[in-house]
Assembly symmetry: C2
Homo-oligomer: 390 residues x 2
């Protein structure tokens, strides 16, 4: 029996078409896109084709606005450190929400060691930022606002268009980390009105370790990687062409299948939520009920620990997560859950269930059945539960 993968947020499996394109690219044995001869020309062409596919997926005005990177983390570091460096004479104040991904938070913490100050804007109980809070936080020293498009633990989608409008009025650069959104929900950089947008291919069934940064024409930003003239002088380093080709195909498919994928995962999500609410008591669904990703459910299950649930589910061949894989080395409670008001105890019992186009309703049902048993078993061993219910 295969594994039921309900941990897509840590990385989606490659689609067959992406696999085929990457295998073809490995076999083709491309040259260096920067070489001034035929071996390089072929490679440069493949590179630009992928760039066009990605540009179309996010409706960028030009493929030139797409810079390929080694993934979401590099894109985010590039966006934040690149603007911080370019604008440092103008001001050193940055605004972010307090539920950003660690790539944003740790980058900001790093900059604080270099004289930058950060205003961390709170979120409400559903994980939404209030755009007014951002407007109020802007000073004449503010150079950057960084608010994620959607949250990787609870799925809440932020009012990005409104925030972008405020940023534009105040002439502050606006970056959004769209890593968990791209390929899952429609993203239109022009409609959103953002200056910078980070993304990673593995969130839309492309390979891990490759991604990109959308840089709206005219945005003031420095490279993170200095060196050669690649990527229009915005990101040095020989390109990871095989992975970029895979990302290009994944982007094409994501654009083409967006509607069908949305319908599919929404159906799974509804089924999952219905099952959770009917079959398990004392639970709490985290995140905004409407402004949310359709492919993720965060549920806090009282009285027991998420880690134990994950281990017991794994024995049954089901993969879920307690939180983002990037933070799995850390034992601290999730900063996202504490920001939306979950106390430490209920945060401990939180599962993140994330799915993709390859999951089936049968898998959701099987997960629910196993989960009910696992929860009951763990609760029967929990002194807290026995005391509360006894």
């Amino acid at each position: 029996m295969g594994i039921i993968n309900l941990d897509h947020i840590s990385g989606n499996p490659l689609l067959p078409e992406v696999q085929a394109a990457m295998i073809e690219a490995v076999r083709t044995n491309y040259g260096n896109p920067s070489s001034p001869h035929h071996l390089g020309d072929q490679a440069a062409e493949a590179l630009e084709q992928a760039r066009q596919s990605v540009a179309r997926l996010i409706n960028s005005a030009s493929p030139k606005e797409i810079v390929f990177t080694s993934g979401g983390t590099e894109s985010i570091n590039h966006a934040i450190k690149g603007v911080a460096a370019a604008k440092r004479e103008q001001g050193r104040h940055i605004i972010a929400s307090n539920i950003e991904h660690n790539s944003v938070l740790k980058t900001l913490r790093r900059l604080m060691g270099f004289g930058y100050t950060v205003t961390s804007v709170p979120v409400d109980g559903d994980g939404r930022v209030n755009p007014d809070d951002i407007a109020k936080a802007i000073t004449d020293k503010t150079i950057l606002i960084s608010i994620m498009h959607s949250n990787n633990e609870i799925g809440t989608i932020q009012p990005i268009e409104e925030i972008a409008r405020i940023a534009r009025e105040k002439k502050v650069i606006f970056h959004t980390d769209a890593v968990t959104s791209i390929g899952v929900v429609p993203i239109d950089v022009r409609k959103l009105g953002v200056d910078l947008l980070s993304f990673a291919a593995n969130q839309f069934h492309g390979p891990a370790g490759v991604g990109g940064l959308y840089i709206r024409k005219g945005t003031s930003i420095w490279p993170l990687l200095d060196g050669g003239a690649q990527e229009n002088n915005r990101r040095a380093g020989t390109e990871n062409l095989i992975s970029i080709i895979g990302m290009g195909v994944a982007a094409q498919l994501a654009a083409k299948e967006m509607g069908a994928r949305l319908n599919h995962v929404k159906k799974l999500r509804d089924r999952l939520l219905k099952g959770l609410n009917e079959k398990i008591d004392d639970i709490y669904i985290n995140g905004h009920p409407e402004h949310c990703l359709p492919n993720i459910v965060s549920v806090s299950i009282s009285y027991i620990e998420g880690e134990s649930i994950v281990l017991m589910l794994e024995e049954e061949g089901i993969a879920v997560s307690t939180r983002s894989a990037c933070a799995s080395g850390s034992l601290r409670a999730s900063h996202v859950l504490s920001s939306i008001g979950r106390d430490w105890a209920s945060a401990q019992g939180t599962l993140v269930i994330s799915f993709g186009k390859d999951n089936t309703e049968g898998e959701i049902d099987r997960f629910l059945d196993v989960l009910v048993t696992v929860v009951q078993t763990l609760r029967n061993m929990s002194p807290l539960y026995v005391r509360a219910k006894g």
Copy 2:
């Protein structure tokens, strides 16, 4: 007829074994190495296996000293910016040679905008640094010395062990850019005595866009990419596992075949040098005759332009380079050639011929035959040549 690739320095073709391993990895559809369940375990295991292969290739004391990156450029940026940040309170003086790769030079230029000063040490006519010059340049504010192991345009190998000894005595961190050396000549980080060493997989027949940074245990350095806990908290971002697996196999093969590869390319180099000297007059072989890479020949051909030679060779199905692919967007004369005393005119007529294990003696002979004709044709059109010889 296939293309004769004598431009290996821009990127070696993937070896069949590397292709097979990458294709297998694409098919396996690994999970995220950081996921706390079975899908992640498999991936984590593959990741650590590759790390061991790379560690063995450079004789690192422990695989923990290897941090995977998106290639040589990221490794170099990480090394220099990471030490600059970690040591900034102690001093802001850095020493490098004036023939470093653009990834080093442009990174240093960037740091100069943040209050760092750089001493650029000259090289002799063969492109070698004098270790005494480095010793003299060290002040109590010096935090880093960065000297490349071998040069990517002329192949000269630097006296790294001697420089490392000086750096260690003065307690200055020493980084070497070994991108063009690794897999080509034996590299032993412990014998060299370096603290940091940058490398890229495509120089030893692995994929482009992946590489690593050797960080000797105890070296004071900050991450370049902040975020998740990957790579022992030293490089955030979901790993590019497919390429890393390819690099691991390429490293294994490079270690195993080192002797045979050296013999093969040395034979090709000798044949090439003999042919050039016998068949074309008014040429100059750049770089040190002994302390040099065995897989690269830089030749300055008087009175004509390298770009024209490259174009005419390309029509005959032969790929060579005038300089590093990373700089091919730039029209300026090579900083390496001017540093070793080539004047602008002869620098213009410079070809970089670089080869690998897949090249044959027949290809060298064919190249020489075509080159003789091309040079004669171009010289006959050159007013400079006609005047000099008329």
